[in-house]
C-alpha cells in the first residue's frame, strides 16, 4: 500500500476515513491509480465501496485523509467542480434523468463545462449554434459506442434495465473524464448481459483509455476486466493485487464466505 504519491499517478487516496455518527464507514483506506489502468474495487456488502466513490466525488465529506487528482488535492471542491476536473461516475441505483430521452441524458454530460455564455444563449449567435451542432454530433457518437443509437428518442425511464445501465455509462463518458468511476455496472444482469458488458467496457477502455475504477459484485466481470483489484471489508483495505493473487488470498476468501447475499463467490479460474 503506497502512501507517497508518485508523480505518475492519476488518483491518489491516502488514509481516507469517514465516520457517520458512531460508525466508521471507511477506515484509513489508501489506493492509487495510474493513468489508463482498469482497477476493481470489491468487497462484501457494506464494505464501504460506494462510500469511497461518494467521498471521491465529494457527495460526502471525509473525516480525515487525502484525495489527490493528478497530484492536486480535490478535497472541499464541489461535485460539479470535481466533474469538470475530470472525474465522472455511474450510480449503484441508476440515476438517469427519467423524463429526458437517451439523447438528452448524454447531451447533458457534454455540457459539463459551459461552452457559451448566458448572453449568447439568449441571442443565438453563430458561435452558440455551432457549439450546439457539435454537441449533437458527439452525443449521437456516444450513443453509437454503447449501441443505443436507435434508442436516442426514447425516454430514459422507459428503457429496459440493461440499456439504462449502458446509457449511464455513455452519459458518464460525455463529460470527457480522466477518471471513470463505475458503480456496479453489471448489477442485476444475467450471464449473457454480463458478457456483453465486459466486451463493451473492454472496448471503451481500449479505445478511450479512460482510467477506470470499478465496483462490482459479479466476480467473473471483475476478474476478466481488471488488471488490479482492491478488496475492502468493513471499511478497511483487506488486500490488493492481481486477479489471481486476490482469488487465492485466504483472507479475501474468508471475508466473502461470511457473505450470504451473492452466491457468486470467488472461484479459482
Amino acid at each position: 500500500m503506497n502512501t507517497n504519491p508518485r508523480n505518475d499517478e492519476l488518483l491518489t487516496i491516502i488514509d481516507l476515513t469517514v465516520d457517520f455518527g458512531g460508525v466508521r464507514a471507511v477506515n484509513n483506506v489508501s489506493l492509487s491509480l495510474r493513468p489508463g489502468e482498469l482497477v476493481g474495487l470489491i468487497g462484501p456488502n457494506g464494505a464501504g465501496k460506494t462510500t469511497v466513490f461518494n467521498l471521491i466525488t465529494n457527495a460526502i465529506r471525509p473525516t480525515a485523509g487525502q484525495i489527490l487528482l493528478d497530484g492536486k488535492s480535490i478535497l472541499g471542491k464541489s461535485p460539479d467542480q470535481i466533474c469538470r476536473l475530470g472525474i465522472s461516475r455511474t450510480f449503484q441505483n441508476i440515476r438517469l434523468f427519467p423524463q429526458m430521452t437517451a439523447y438528452e441524458n448524454v447531451e447533458l454530460g457534454l455540457h459539463s463545462s459551459p461552452r457559451y455564455s448566458l448572453a449568447e444563449a439568449f441571442v443565438r449567435l453563430p458561435h452558440a449554434s455551432r457549439v450546439e451542432k457539435e454537441t449533437h454530433k458527439r452525443a449521437l457518437e456516444l450513443l453509437e459506442i454503447v449501441n443505443l443509437r436507435e434508442y436516442a428518442r426514447e425516454r430514459a425511464s422507459s428503457l429496459p434495465y440493461g440499456l439504462q445501465r449502458r446509457l449511464e455509462i455513455a452519459r458518464a463518458m460525455a463529460t470527457s473524464p480522466k477518471l471513470l468511476l463505475l458503480d456496479e455496472p453489471a448489477a442485476g444482469m444475467n450471464e449473457d448481459e454480463c458478457k456483453a458488458l465486459v466486451r463493451l467496457i473492454r472496448e471503451i477502455h481500449t479505445t478511450m483509455h479512460y482510467t477506470t475504477l470499478m465496483i462490482e459484485h459479479h466476480m467473473a466481470v471483475v476478474m476478466d476486466l481488471c488488471e488490479r483489484i482492491y478488496v475492502l471489508n468493513l471499511g478497511s483495505l483487506l488486500a490488493v493485487g492481481s486477479p489471481k493473487e486476490i482469488q487465492n488470498n485466504p483472507q479475501v476468501i474468508k471475508a466473502y464466505l461470511g457473505e450470504r447475499k451473492n452466491a457468486r463467490t470467488v472461484t479459482p479460474s
Binding site: 461535485p79 460539479d80 427519467p98 455540457h111 459551459p114 443565438r124 458518464a172
Partner: protein, 296 residues
Amino acid sequence: MGYLTAILILGGINIIATLGVAILTGYTGLFTIGHAGFMALGGYMSAILVKELHVPFPIALLIGGTFAGLCSFIIGYPAFRSRLRGDYFAIATLGFSEAIRLILNNTKTLGPINLGGAFGYMNIPSHTNVWVVLFTLFLALLFAHMFVTSHYGKNCIAVAQDEVAAQMMGVNLLKTKLIALFISAFYAGVAGGLLGFYFAYLSPSFFTITKSSDLLAAVVFGGIQSLIGPFVTAFVLVAVPEVLRALAEWRLIIYGFLFVIVMIFRPQGLLGYVEMNLNFARLLWQKWFGRKLAEG
C-alpha cells in the same frame, strides 16, 4: 371592443409573469408561491422611475425587472447554497412575498414620494396599450424559448429531474437555480410594471398570495417543462373568469381541486414536455396541409 382589449392586455401581462414561473417551476422544478412579490417590486420600481424621475417607459420597465431579479437573490442565495436540503426556498418565497406586501401596505411615503401605503400609488402615466403588451409578450416568449433550448435551460431541466445526478455531471446547482430565479423574477417584475401603467395605479392588494397562486395554477395546468402550455393556460385563466363572472367566486376552490386532480391523473399538465419548435409546427402543417391536399 374595449372589453376585448382589456382581456388581451391583462391576459398578455399574465402570460409574461407566467412564463417566468414556468421557467422556475416548470423547468427547474422549484416551487414558488411568491412571484406576486416580484411583480410588486418591478411594478412599483418602474412606476416610481417614470412618474418621479421621468425615466423613459421601456427603460423603466427593464430597470424594474432587473430590480426584481436582484431582489430575488435575497431569498435565492441563502436557500440554494450547497448541501442544503429542505423546502427553504418554497417557504421563503411565501414569506418574501408577504413581507413585500406588508412593507408596501405600511409605507405611506418614501422620502418625497407619496407611495400611498394601502391606498395605493396613484396617477401613474398610462403607457400600457395592447401593442406594447403584445410586443413585450413576443420578446418574452422569444427569449424564454432561447433560454430553455440552450444548455443553460437543459441544466435547469436536469436539476428538476435529479439534482444530485446533475451535479455529478458538472451542473453548478447554485448558479443554475439563481439564473432561473433571476429570469423568473425579472419577467414578473416587467409584468408588474405593465400592470401599473395599465391601471395607472398600483396597490399592494394586487399582489397577494392569490395572484401568486394564479401564476402557479397556469403552470400546473399548462404543463411542466413547457412554454406553450402555460402560455395558453395563462391566457385562458384570465379570459374565462371575465367571461364567466359567476364562476369567478368559485375560482380558487376549483383551482384547488384541479391541482390535486392534475397531480394524480395527469401531472404533466395539458401540454407538459411539449416544446415549441419547428418540428412541431412542421408536423402540424403537414397534417393540415396533407389533409387539404387529400380533399382537394
